[in-house]
């Protein structure tokens, strides 16, 4: 047992050394991400000292950009399931070689989610109150306690699956089903659960009519399955350009099918919600009115949501038209969809529920520079983590990193592996 752990630690260590290999572009990218992460850390330290007063939040709008980003990112993490299902349920091998990147993305993104929740806490020093057994966890009553469980569980599941599979590739051993198949199937349902629970966090509040709608969870899932695979389409193209890992066009286009259908459902559900709000025209439409058209002379979110609507529409048009069978347009559509959904689900979903307040006050919210810096910092850190994870696993997956420390390089391998890895050059 101890030998097995030792071997695994050696494996992780050797993978970690791979993160030092790269050309100047890689170093520039990592340095830039580190710099932005540190700017975020600096901004967070200022917030720790002064309190959440450095944000744009108020008693009326008590959640803002942090929770908006959190909500969006939970969806990105859940999206890995859309790659897992075709491979493991339908035995379609097209996406087989890229599933791992979805799972690694889930790991990095869940870490970002946890960071976004942490920076939103007024008393991060009391985080231990949430640890079951030590603290006083309000489970199963509080939806937030469910969220803590499903997010950490999902992180563990994905870390286990990807950690195990990559290690088996490294050892050139056939993975034993018992060590990953059960986890893969649990993770499938778990992925749905993380986003459903996050939706229920909002849905369960009777005092906020804008959120108190049964359609929120399906909407969250549809938008997640657009933004997540969309992000992977972009990432996979970067991976195949900069490394020797093979990603087929077929895999990218299969992801396009997923993004396409999800985007159609996402927009459809959005229209359902808008119909219900505006046609009914009850007192409960106030938040939606504020969001789309402004209320009593306040228009804070109007530019945001119409930007999202334009981005969503453009993405939808590109995705359903044959243009997006060309990778360039597909990438554009994905980028537009990600940006559109980020606004729609973040600022367009979290903030308007607070405006007007339950007592009818209109207090607007706009994030401060410090808030933006913290968010940018967490995004940069997440990207840094994802890049690191990719950098550690790709050499294993391409067979460049094996247990034999100084395996002689064959001529074939040099011609096949012409990526940015110094060892093969």
């Amino acid at each position: 047992m101890t030998q097995a752990i030792k071997d695994y630690v050696v494996f992780v260590g050797r993978c970690a050394r791979k993160t030092l290999d790269g050309d100047w572009r890689y170093y520039l990218w990592m340095t830039a991400l580190t710099a932005v992460s540190l700017l975020g850390l600096n901004a967070y330290c200022k917030q720790l000292v002064a309190g959440l007063t450095v944000t744009g939040m108020s008693d009326q709008v008590s959640w803002g950009l942090y929770i908006a980003n959190f909500t969006f990112l939970v969806g990105m993490a859940a999206a890995a399931v859309m790659l897992v299902v075709p491979v493991y349920v339908y035995k379609d091998e097209t996406l087989h070689d890229v599933v791992i990147f979805g799972e690694l993305l889930a790991v990095a993104v869940i870490v970002m989610c946890l960071l976004f929740v942490t920076v939103d806490l007024g008393r991060p020093d009391r985080f231990w109150h949430m640890i079951p057994g030590i603290g006083r966890f309000n489970w199963p009553i509080s939806m937030l306690s469910w969220d803590v469980i499903v997010l950490n569980g999902y992180l563990a599941l994905n870390a286990q699956i990807s950690g195990y599979l990559v290690y088996m590739v490294y050892l050139k051993r056939k993975p034993a089903s018992i060590w990953y198949i059960p986890f893969v199937f649990i993770a499938m349902f778990w992925a749905i659960s993380i986003h459903t629970v996050t939706a229920f966090l909002y849905v369960g509040l009777g005092g906020r009519p804008f959120w108190n709608s049964a359609i929120v969870a399906p909407r969250f899932l549809a938008s997640a399955f657009t933004a997540g695979p969309g992000f992977l389409i972009l990432t996979l193209q970067v991976i195949r350009r900069l490394s020797s890992y093979k990603v087929t066009d077929k895999a990218l286009f299969m992801l396009r099918d997923i993004v396409q259908v999800s985007m159609i459902i996402n927009v459809f559900l959005l229209l359902c919600e808008l119909f219900k709000e505006f046609y009914t025209d009850s007192a409960h439409v106030a938040s939606a009115k504020y969001l789309f058209f402004g209320l009593h002379g306040h228009y804070g979110l109007v530019p945001w949501i119409w930007t999202a609507m334009v981005l969503d529409s453009a993405a939808l048009a590109l995705l359903v038209l044959p243009f997006s069978r060309r990778l360039r347009y597909l990438s554009l559509a994905c980028a537009l969809a990600i940006a559109g959904i980020w606004i729609e689900k973040g600022m367009g979903m979290v903030v308007p529920a607070f405006i007007p307040s339950p007592l009818g006050e209109i207090v607007e919210y706009s994030p401060t520079l410090n808030e933006w810096l913290i968010c940018a910092g967490i995004w940069a850190f997440g990207m840094l983590l994802y890049t690191t994870l990719l950098k550690m696993t790709i050499p294993v997956l391409t067979g460049q990193l094996t247990p034999q420390k100084s395996a002689p390089m064959s001529i074939e391998s040099e011609t096949v592996w012409h990526g940015n890895f110094r060892d093969t050059a």
Binding site: L41, C45, T53, S62, R123, R126, G207, A286, H296, P358
Partner: protein, 309 residues
């Protein structure tokens, strides 16, 4: 790595190492610079505060020691020795509140009496009571104003003060992930200021906008501090936690009225034991025209509005 090198690459490797070393050094320096604002921390929790258990897990001895420590801290910070207690709920008592909407003139004396009684931060201002100036003939809170000025009452308006409704089915209690807020046997929804993690989910859950968050360290002038304090009510709060109206439990559990009831010049505010059929509050609910705000959210408030007819 070294064993994989061809001889000609040795120089390259050295410069690469130098490069990595320089990178590591600058990363450490930059991290230190990023962390530098932490030097300004003035309200770091003590080890005892960091490890302090949930209110319900404290033994009587723990409580005694904690109350003593808080008293010493308050004396140090404000130069006043407080009388800090932790009165338990009285058996057979369920508190209820009724507000005569026909009599309230919107003077906001209750707002300021509450702030003073409960040691609410003056800067930034925290107030538990919000008085809505409503247009006569309208019950739409959206057309109300809370920032009205000048002489009151104004023609054509009536006034509806709102504070924590101490709901029987309190959404805030359900929301809290760490049980930092709960309902006491006498119906008061309280907060353990040393257990709250500041996630503000309770604020999102509250249909009455009753909860306030300490966005920064609360500031109370030394000469305005109320030294009569309760652990679950008006002792000074730290930065980063939620607070709200608690029916002045450090007074009401000792047989006094809440500060807002006492100060009201028009007698619009009534308070008492709902379980006592002879009490004024029970009588009002029986005989007056009574309503609760936002009945449709189904939280069953213990705070009623009524009018004479």
């Amino acid at each position: 790595m070294a064993e994989e090198l061809k001889p000609g690459e040795a120089a390259n490797e050295i410069s690469r190492r130098a490069f990595l070393a320089a990178l590591a050094t600058s990363a450490v320096t930059a991290t230190a610079a990023a962390l530098s604002p932490l030097k300004g921390v003035a309200d770091l929790p003590t080890l005892e505060e960091f490890l302090r258990l949930h209110y319900k897990e404290l033994t009587p001895e723990d409580k005694k020691a904690i109350l003593e420590r808080i008293a010493a801290q308050v004396e140090k910070d404000y130069g006043v020795r407080p009388n800090i207690t932790d009165p338990p709920p009285i058996p057979g008592v369920e508190f209820g509140y009724a507000l005569n909407i026909g009599r309230c003139i919107g003077c906001r004396k209750c707002v300021y009496a509450c702030a003073k009684e409960n040691n609410q931060s003056r800067n930034p201002q925290i107030q538990y009571i919000r008085v809505l100036q409503m247009r006569k003939g309208s019950i739409d809170v959206e057309s109300s104003k809370t920032d009205y000025e000048g002489e009151v009452p104004k023609d054509g308006f009536y006034y509806m003060p709102v504070q924590c409704h101490q709901c029987r089915k309190a959404p805030c209690v359900k929301a809290c992930p760490v049980q930092a807020t709960w309902q006491e046997p006498d119906g008061v929804v309280v907060i353990d200021y040393n257990w709250c993690i500041g996630c503000r989910y309770c604020m999102a859950a509250c249909p009455y906008g009753a909860r306030r968050f300490n966005f920064e360290k609360p500031e109370i002038p030394k000469d305005e501090l109320n030294p009569e304090m309760g652990y679950l009510s008006n002792r000074p709060r730290p930065k980063g936690v939620v607070e709200k109206c608690h029916f002045c439990l450090h007074r009401t559990r000792k047989g006094k009225y809440p500060a807002c009831v006492e100060v009201c010049p028009t007698g619009s505010r009534k308070f008492g034991n709902l379980l006592d059929p002879e009490s004024e509050i029970a009588n009002i609910i029986k005989t007056k025209r009574v309503y609760v705000l936002k009945e449709e959210v189904g939280t069953l408030p213990r705070f009623y509005y009524y009018f004479n007819l």
